[in-house]
Amino acid sequence: MVIGDVQKDFLLAVEGLTVSFDGFKAVNDLSFYVDENEIRVIIGPNGAGKTTVLDLICGKTEATSGSIKFRGQELTHMTPNQIVLAGVGRKFQTPSIYDDLTVFENLEISYPRGRTVFGALTFKRDAAVRDRVEAVAETIFLKDRLHTSAELLSHGQKQWLEIGMLLIQEPALLMLDEPVAGMSVSERVKTAELLHGIIKNHSVLVIEHDMKFVEDIAHKVIVLHQGRILSEGKMEKVKNDPKVIEVYLGH
């Protein structure tokens, strides 16, 4: 996965990132670095700015100042679709899938070909597309539901489907906003298994509230509080940090 990058080291380098909504700094002078093939989890109380960080990276929200470098490419001035092409994929908090389309069609739309208007018009569903969709469907445990309308899936399956829609895009960095929220215990276990499989060739940035799940998957954890980093490091270290216990874990 080494791409010809001069200063390499980090896949994602966020430096001095600030966004201010009418004077309120939702994210304040935030800096962190994500390595290749790392699972990084962001935790923190409600309103800490976790989702805003993902919004900033994927181009949904424009940064007031600071820089986001992905493989040396500055993302802050790129449009959302350019950021996707650069290799960043993002899953939303509530499952964001297309209810009126089948599982197959949902995955197919994310297949990285025919993304322009005329490309989409002349797109052919060939063997390569079919094989890839089926392979991804297998990974996300939905192989036997390919031709089901997506609205008939369970909540957990919808979450997996959206993760699958990211996988088929082949991003280098996957950003997941609360991937196990609302899932049953067995679904959580399967999702952790899924993520462990995914990180073999992706970096993953996850927002999650479920501490057990976080412990299970995270390489490193960032605790965000009022737009700033409160603590950062291995889960054991963060867990025992008195500041973290006070604002977040103690509750």
């Binding site: 449009t79 569903r125 829609m165």
Partner: protein, 384 residues
């Protein structure tokens, strides 16, 4: 599943055949030329309705200003026909012979520059497609790139319809004003006012309409069609899957504009004039109602909806002219509240299952009918 990537699936092919049979054989044999010409007039609105199915039904972009594009297409055609009708020989009693009569009445002594290219039929045909497409592109780019959508977009399209009407009425020396462009006579020397011409034009129009249906179905079954549906549901998901949502919306709006313009141009040929009363807010909203009644998710539904509402309009407004607009409004509300997928939805939910049941009972037809069932339910809801 592979059915989806083909141009048409079997039930659509059937629907196309039924529509062709109705328009090419049944109606011409059962109606006199006057009634057939009425159908021809209604069918010009069906083009607008097909465009709205793509743009509004699939793409979720409600335009309340399709009359603008209908008018642009219609006026392009009318300008060509008017110039042909305003030969020096035909207009020698005017103070400036060789220009359209209304220009002469408005003391114009020279043909305005933008009228001159309309001496050429080739230019006119290109303009019928290009003018609305370019205009829709400009409006679409200005709106969608700024992420203006939904009800705001609908209101802006309505404002554009009002503006264009006012412009046409106000600039009567250049446009014919409130009366429109009238007294159109020949197309390349062929008199379009005779019964025979109207009969031939009807078939020309039906050919265009069936081709339009094929184009619409092709778009629907392409990946672009699925992206339109996806955009309607979760715009952000599409955007963050690497698509420029604005470009797809612009495309849908331009396609709808071109459909409307072709309808407008054919209207001018069939009816023999074009006026601002087909451009403004009221006709634009009526066109949306035709689509809603027929079913905004169905190309065929939109065509039947257009025909049915217009027939109702003609018969009701003959007997109760004041009540018609109220009736139309009530119809729209009823459709939205009670059956949001229009006649096509009713057909799909109530008629087709029964039809299939009857077909299933017939030996030999069983296999075919069971295929129909699985295909008639959109997006594989019953494929499980």
């Amino acid at each position: 599943m592979s059915e989806n990537t083909r141009f048409f699936n079997r039930s659509e092919l059937m629907a196309l055949a039924v529509l062709a049979l109705l328009l090419v054989v049944v109606l011409p044999l059962s109606l006199d030329v006057f009634r057939l010409n009425l159908v021809a007039k209604y069918l010009t609105y069906a083009f607008v309705a097909i465009g709205l199915v793509l743009c509004w039904g699939y793409g979720g972009i409600l335009s309340l200003g399709q009359g603008v594009f209908f008018g642009l297409g219609g006026y392009c055609m009318a300008m060509f026909l008017k110039l042909e009708a305003s030969s020096v020989a035909n207009t020698k009693i005017q103070s400036t012979p060789g220009i359209p009569d209304f220009m002469d009445w408005n003391q114009l002594t020279q043909l305005p520059f933008f009228w001159k290219p309309f001496h050429s039929l080739t230019f006119t045909i290109v303009a019928i497609f290009a003018v609305p497409a370019i205009f829709a592109f400009i409006v679409g780019a200005a709106m969608f790139k700024r992420r203006v959508g939904g009800v705001y977009f609908a209101i802006i399209t309505q404002a554009i319809a009002a503006i264009l009407t006012i412009l046409i009425v106000g600039q009567q020396g250049y446009t014919g004003g409130i009366n429109g462009i009238t007294d159109l006579r020949t197309l390349k020397g062929w008199d379009i006012r005779t019964d025979q011409a109207k009969f031939i034009l009807y078939f020309v129009e039906v050919a265009f309409l069936l081709a339009g249906v094929a184009v619409a179905l092709f778009i629907r079954h392409s990946k672009l069609g699925r992206i339109l549906v996806a955009m309607r549901e979760k715009e952000d998901r599409v955007r963050f899957s690497g698509y420029s949502v604005a470009n797809f919306k612009i495309f849908a709006f331009c396609i709808a504009a071109v459909f409307a313009a072709v309808g407008g141009a054919l209207f001018t040929l069939e009816v023999g004039f074009m006026s601002p009363s087909f451009v403004g807010i009221v006709p634009s909203i009526e066109m949306v109602i035709y689509t809603a009644v027929g079913g905004r998710l169905s190309v065929f539904g939109a065509i039947y909806g257009t025909l049915i509402v217009n027939f109702a309009k003609t018969s009701f407004s003959e007997s109760f002219p004041e009540l018609w607009l109220f009736g139309l409004g009530a119809l729209f509300i009823a459709v939205v509240l009670a059956f949001p997928n229009g006649l096509a939805g009713l057909w799909r939910d109530y008629v087709q299952p029964r039809l299939d049941a009857v077909l299933l009972r017939r030996p030999g037809a069983a296999k075919w009918a069971s295929r129909q069932v699985s295909e008639s339910v959109p997006d594989g809801a019953a494929a499980e």
